[in-house]
C-alpha cells in the first residue's frame, strides 16, 4: 500500500507496532556477515522450521526474525530471546530444539550457551547487562539487531521514517538544516567536516539540479561499521538521505557501495524497492509533493574511491581518481553540479536527529565532537565487535570496559585508530578521550572508526610496514609523491625488517614523509605517512634497535629473531614439536626439547603453543655471536 499522507504513515506505524506487540516472544537471530560466516543461516532456518512444524507461532506466540549485526561478532552466531533479553552465544543449529523447549516454552535458561564474562568468569543472562552492550549508546545503529532489514514494516514499527515524516510535514528545508546545525554532527567518514555547513554550502550553490550521495566504499582493513549499517538497517541510510535531499533541494541520490559487500547491496536494493512501493521514495513522498529517488552504484573495490572526488569520477563512469579540489564538491561535485556526499553512518544518524531534535544529539559527546560514534573494535582484544559510544569516551573504557581487555591478558602495547592513514596510540595515552581533535593531536585520526588493539607481541616497525604495503597497493598512482613515495618508503621498511637498516634511514623516512604530506594530491597520500610518523613518535627506540642492533625488540621480524627453549621451563609436553611446520624441533615426550637454529624459520608457532612459556625470543645477531664463541 502506498502512503499518501502523514496520517496514513502514522496509521501504518501504529498498526505495525501493534502487530509486533501481539507476539508474546521473539527470537532474534543475528544474520550479520560475521554470524553468517559462523553458521547463522542454518540456525535461523532451524528456528523457522521448528516454528512452522510445531505451530509455535500460534501456540506460544513465537516470532522468529533474522536481523542485522548485533555487533558482538566474537561470540556469533548470536540469538536473543525477547522480551526476556536472554542472549545465547555461539549457537549451533543442533541446539535450536533445546532452546525452544527449555527457554521459549519452559522459561528456563540454558547456562552453557550464556555469555561468560572474561573478567570474572560469571555467566550473564540478560544481554543488556553484558558490559559490551551496557556501555554503548546507539544512534546510527539504533535499530540494527532489532529489525529484519528486509522488512520495511518491521523498520517502521521501530521508528524508521518517523524523522522523515516530521521533516516533510513540520519543518521547512531551512528548519531541517537548522536542526542539523544545532546537533553539531560532523562527518563520520573520517575528516569530520560539519554536516550542516556542508549542506548549507550545497544549498547556496547556484543551479537547480543537485545530488545527494552516500559513501559506502568502506575499505579500511579492520573497519566494518558502514557494512553493518547498510546490511542491518538500510532504511536509516535511506531516511537520512531523503531528509538531506529535502533540506538542500535535491531530487537525485546515489549510494556508492563497494561490491565486496554483497549482503549490503542486496539489503539496500530490497529496502529501496520497498520504500518506493510504499511511497517513501520516488515522486510525491508521503503525499508531501517532494520528489527524490536513489540509485545504487557498485564500486569495483578500489580503496581510493572512498575519496570524494574519486568516488564522483567513478560514479560518472570514469576512472576513479581524485582531482584537485580547489572548488568544493558542494559547488562542483558529481557532473560538476552541486553535491552533498556523506558517509553511511552520517546519514544513518540524521533520522534520529530530526526525530529527537538536534539538542538531544548535541547533549552527548565533547565540546567540538557531538553525539555518538561507531567503532569496529578488533585485534588483540577479548570482545571484538561493533560498538557505538558517545564521543569523549576514553580509549581505556573502550578497550577494557567494553572490549574486556587485551586477549590472553597479554600486556597492552598500542591501539591503531583511523584505518591505514591513522596512527598508533601508545599505552600512556590510554586515558585520551576519543574525539576528532584529541586523536589528531595524538598523531592519529578518527578516520572510519577502526580500532585495532595490539599486544606486546607486535613490532611497530612491522605494523607501519603493513599499512604502507596496503597503501602502496591502493594508491591510484596519479601523483608523484604518493605513487613513488610509498614505493620508496616501503622499500626502506623492507630493509629495516630484513635486518638491512642503515644509519640515516629514520631521517630519510621523515624527509620523505614530510614531502608526501605536503606534496600529495589527495588525502590518501597526504595522510599515508601517519602510521609511519606516529610509530616513530612513540616507538622510536624500536626503530633504532632494528637499525643499530639488528634486533626486533618485540621478537616478530623473522630475519632478526631467533627462538630458543628455556631449559628450566620445558616440561617436554611435545606441543612445540607438533606445531613446528619445518621439523626444526627435536625432543621426546617428558624430556627437554631443542630448536635447531639452522632449520628454524622463526615463524613463532612454537612460541604461541607453549603452555609453560618456556620459549623465548632473542636477536639472531646474538645467536650468531654465541656460535662463534
Amino acid at each position: 500500500m502506498r502512503i499518501e499522507s502523514r496520517d496514513q504513515f502514522t496509521a501504518l506505524h501504529e498498526a505495525a507496532r501493534k502487530a509486533r506487540a501481539e507476539h508474546r516472544q521473539q527470537i532474534l537471530v543475528c544474520c550479520g556477515t560475521g554470524c553468517l560466516a559462523s553458521g547463522a543461516k542454518e540456525v535461523a532456518e532451524a528456528f523457522a522450521e521448528q516454528v512452522a512444524d510445531r505451530g509455535l507461532d500460534a501456540e506460544v506466540g513465537l516470532f522468529v526474525k533474522s536481523t542485522g549485526c548485533h555487533g558482538f561478532c566474537e561470540r556469533g552466531p548470536l540469538v536473543v530471546i525477547q522480551p526476556s533479553g536472554v542472549l545465547y552465544t555461539r549457537v549451533k543449529a543442533k541446539s535450536v530444539a533445546e532452546i525452544i523447549d527449555t527457554t521459549v516454552i519452559g522459561g528456563e535458561v540454558i547456562t552453557r550457551l550464556l555469555y561468560k564474562n572474561p573478567v570474572d568468569g560469571e555467566r550473564i543472562e540478560d544481554y543488556s547487562e553484558i558490559p559490551f552492550y551496557k556501555n554503548q549508546v546507539r544512534v546510527a545503529m539504533r535499530n540494527i539487531g532489532r529489525i529484519d532489514p528486509t522488512d520495511i514494516e518491521d523498520a517502521i514499527a521501530e521508528g524508521a521514517y518517523s524523522g522523515l515524516a516530521r521533516a516533510l510535514f513540520e519543518l521547512t528545508p531551512d528548519e531541517v538544516l537548522e536542526e542539523v546545525r544545532v546537533s553539531g554532527q560532523r562527518g563520520r567518514g573520517g575528516a569530520g567536516f560539519n554536516t550542516a555547513r556542508k549542506w548549507a554550502s550545497c544549498k547556496a550553490a547556484p543551479g537547480d539540479r543537485r545530488f545527494v550521495l552516500c559513501n559506502g566504499d568502506e575499505g579500511d582493513p579492520g573497519a566494518f561499521k558502514d557494512r553493518s549499517i547498510m546490511e542491518g538497517d538500510p532504511h536509516s541510510v535511506l531516511e537520512g538521505m531523503i531528509i538531506g535531499a529535502y533540506a538542500v533541494g535535491a531530487n537525485e541520490g546515489y549510494i556508492y557501495v563497494r561490491d565486496e559487500y554483497p549482503l549490503a547491496v542486496v539489503n539496500l536494493t530490497i529496502a529501496i524497492a520497498e520504500a518506493r512501493k510504499r511511497g517513501l521514495l520516488g515522486d510525491d513522498i508521503m503525499g508531501s509533493g517532494f520528489n527524490f529517488d536513489i540509485k545504487i552504484s557498485r564500486g569495483g573495490g578500489a580503496f581510493i574511491c572512498g575519496e570524494s572526488s574519486a568516488l564522483m569520477r567513478s560514479l560518472e563512469g570514469k576512472v576513479g581518481e581524485p582531482r584537485a579540489k580547489y572548488v568544493h564538491s558542494t559547488e562542483k561535485g558529481l557532473y560538476d553540479l552541486p553535491t552533498v556526499l556523506n558517509n553511511v553512518e552520517t546519514w544513518a544518524g540524521i533520522g534520529a536527529i530530526i526525530e529527537r531534535g538536534g539538542q538531544w544529539f548535541a547533549s552527548m559527546g565533547t565540546e567540538k565532537s557531538k553525539g555518538t560514534k561507531a567503532f569496529s573494535l578488533v585485534g588483540k582484544v577479548k570482545n571484538t565487535g561493533l560498538i557505538e559510544l558517545p564521543m569523549g569516551t576514553t580509549l581505556r573504557q573502550i578497550i577494557y570496559d567494553i572490549g574486556g581487555g587485551v586477549a590472553n591478558d597479554r600486556p597492552f602495547k598500542a591501539v591503531q585508530t583511523g584505518g591505514p592513514s591513522g596512527g598508533c596510540v601508545p599505552e600512556e595515552l590510554l586515558d585520551l578521550p576519543v574525539d576528532y581533535e584529541k586523536l589528531t593531536e595524538a598523531g592519529s585520526m578518527m578516520g572510519s572508526g577502526g580500532m585495532i588493539v595490539m599486544d606486546d607481541r607486535t613490532c611497530m616497525v612491522d605494523v607501519a610496514r603493513y599499512f604502507l604495503a596496503f597503501l602502496t597497493e591502493e594508491s591510484c598512482g596519479k601523483c608523484t609523491p604518493c605513487r613513488e613515495g610509498l614505493k620508496q618508503m616501503l622499500h626502506i621498511y623492507d630493509r629495516l625488517i630484513g635486518g638491512d637498516g642503515r644509519e640515516g634511514d629514520i631521517e630519510a623516512i621523515e624527509r620523505l614523509a614530510r614531502g608526501m604530506q605536503l606534496g600529495s594530491l589527495c588525502e590518501l597520500g597526504k595522510s599515508a605517512p601517519n602510521p609511519v610518523l606516529s610509530t616513530l613518535r612513540y616507538f622510536r627506540a624500536e626503530y633504532e634497535a632494528h637499525i643499530h642492533d639488528r634486533a626486533c625488540p618485540a621478537g616478530i621480524c623473522r630475519e632478526l629473531t631467533a627462538y630458543e627453549i628455556i631449559e628450566e621451563g620445558c616440561d617436554g609436553c611435545h606441543a612445540c614439536f607438533k606445531a613446528c611446520p619445518v621439523d626444526a624441533i627435536e625432543g621426546v615426550i617428558k624430556e627437554l626439547h631443542v630448536i635447531h637454529q639452522d632449520a628454524c624459520i622463526s615463524c613463532g608457532a612454537c612460541f604461541d603453543v607453549c603452555p609453560t612459556e618456556a620459549i623465548r625470543t632473542l636477536p639472531k645477531s646474538r645467536l650468531e655471536k654465541a656460535e662463534v664463541v
Binding site: G477, R483, L486, Q488, G515
Partner: protein
C-alpha cells in the same frame, strides 16, 4: 581583473587565471612537468607546488597548493620558493629521478634542484615515462581516447586497451608529440606509420606524393569537421607550390 602578489610583486591577471598564469605574468619560473597550455590542468606531477595565503587569513598562514590548477583571488599572496616548497619539490624530483634515472629532462630538472643522484632506490628497469598523463589527456581532448593509464599505484602505465593494437587510434601522433621525454615510440614513412604497434596507411598528396597524415586521421577529421577528406590530402609543399604559382601569375600581370 584580479590583483595578487607573487613573491611580493604585484600582478594583475584575468579573473579566471591560475596561480601559474600569475607567476608567469610576474616573470617567476615555477617548474612544471604535467602542464600544457590548452589542456585542462591536471595537478599530477606536483612539481609546481607553491605557498599561498588568501585575504583574511592569518599573516603567516600559508597553504601549499599546485600553481597549475589553483584559481587566483584578489589579494592573494603567492610564495614560489619558500623553504618547504623547495623541500617538497626536491622530494618530488628526487622520486622521479629514482623512477627515470636515465631520462635527460628529469636529470636536468633534478640538477636544477641540486640533485645529481637520487637518494632513493633507482628503478631496476629504468623508464622514460614519468606518468605525467599528457598523452592520454591530449588523446581524450581530440576525442579519440585510444590510450589510457592502466593499473594503479606504481604499477600504473600508459597502454592501449589490453596492451593490444588500439582500435580507436587514428595515428595522429599527438601523444608522441606532446610527450616531454620522447617515451612514445613511432616510425614514420612515406607509405605507412607505426605507433602503439599499429600500422597506419598514410594519405599521400596526389601532386607531390608526400605523406601528409594517416588516412584514419583524415577520415576522423573529415567526419568531425564536415570538411571533405580531400582537403587533408594537400601537403605543405603542395600549398607552397600553389601559392608560388599564384604569385608568379601576379608578377606577370604587373
Amino acid at each position: 581583473m584580479t590583483t595578487l602578489t607573487v613573491n611580493g610583486r604585484r600582478v594583475t591577471v584575468p579573473d579566471d587565471a591560475t596561480i601559474l598564469d600569475a607567476t608567469r605574468a610576474a616573470g617567476v619560473d615555477v617548474p612544471t612537468l604535467c602542464h600544457f597550455d590548452g589542456l585542462e590542468p591536471w595537478g599530477g606531477c606536483r612539481l609546481c607546488v607553491v605557498d599561498m595565503s588568501q585575504e583574511g587569513w592569518d599573516e603567516d598562514w600559508f597553504k601549499m597548493v599546485t600553481a597549475c590548477n589553483h584559481p587566483v583571488a584578489e589579494g592573494m599572496r603567492v610564495v614560489t620558493h619558500s623553504e618547504r616548497v623547495l623541500a617538497t619539490r626536491q622530494v618530488v624530483i628526487d622520486l622521479l629521478l629514482a623512477r627515470c634515472p636515465e631520462t635527460p629532462l628529469i636529470q636536468r630538472i633534478a640538477a636544477e634542484h641540486g640533485i645529481e643522484k637520487t637518494s632513493y632506490e633507482p628503478n631496476p628497469e629504468p623508464t622514460d615515462c614519468i606518468l605525467c598523463g599528457l598523452c592520454t589527456r591530449v588523446c581524450d581532448h581530440i576525442g579519440v581516447s585510444a590510450i589510457a593509464s592502466v593499473n594503479r599505484g606504481w604499477g600504473r602505465e600508459i597502454a592501449p586497451p589490453f596492451h593490444g593494437e588500439p582500435p580507436d587510434c587514428i595515428g595522429c601522433l599527438a601523444c608522441a608529440e606532446i610527450c616531454p621525454t620522447d617515451y612514445i615510440e613511432f616510425t614514420d614513412g612515406h607509405v605507412t606509420r607505426t605507433i602503439w604497434n599499429r600500422e597506419f596507411e598514410m594519405l599521400r598528396d596526389p601532386v607531390t606524393g608526400q605523406a601528409v597524415i594517416t588516412t584514419a586521421q583524415a577520415e576522423y577529421f573529415a567526419e568531425r569537421s564536415g570538411v571533405p577528406k580531400a582537403y587533408f590530402e594537400t601537403s605543405d609543399s603542395s600549398k607552397r607550390l600553389a601559392m608560388a604559382k599564384t604569385f608568379a601569375a601576379l608578377a606577370v600581370k604587373e
